[in-house]
Symmetry: C2
Subunit: 106 residues, 2 copies
């Protein structure tokens, strides 16, 4: 079974997390799994090509924002809620709240 | 007097704010003016060239994170605290708190 690299909790850096969250597509992915729990990559209906989506998921994984579990040919994505909360308390919650505000304006 | 462009409060976008905050030098600038109030650009002792510093300040200004006031040959920088708080409540506070945590580890 293929195991993807994830940074340890203490190697999660604030600037990388903020960068990972600074893209509208990545924000929409994070918002979805924050509300609905683990999702297969195929569940994300974004306006981008499959390879671009893979790149976005990789950016989120390498920054420490999400965990990606490989099962057969599918990749399942969850938020690293506990790690992020222990590392930077309240940060993800405030970003998701800000995302909700920005979405309600459109 | 030269007046620099600043986005209106409602034109401040979450992804741009997070991108502006996703760089360690820009984070250090924001942290400093958040704690010490308005500062001239010359007060920022960063390990980057003057032109790079100008670029960082511009990124912060164009995203809506800071206000830059021109007085003679000096540029004075403040956080757009009220605008950011009204736009995305609690976001900047949680980022600055996370920055403090990450700094205490070094």
């Amino acid at each position: 079974m293929k195991i993807l690299h994830h940074p340890n909790r203490n190697d999660i850096h604030l600037s990388s997390v903020l960068y990972a969250l600074s893209d509208p597509v990545r924000l929409s992915i994070v918002d979805r799994i924050a509300h609905q729990g683990e999702q297969p990559c195929s569940a994300f209906t974004t306006p981008v090509a499959k390879s671009t989506l893979s790149h976005h998921i990789r950016t989120l994984r390498e920054s420490g924002v999400v965990n990606v579990r490989v099962q057969g040919t599918q990749h399942f994505v969850t938020i690293r809620q506990e790690d992020l909360e222990l590392r930077f308390p309240g940060l993800l919650t405030s970003v998701i709240q800000a995302y909700k505000i920005s979405m309600n304006e459109d």
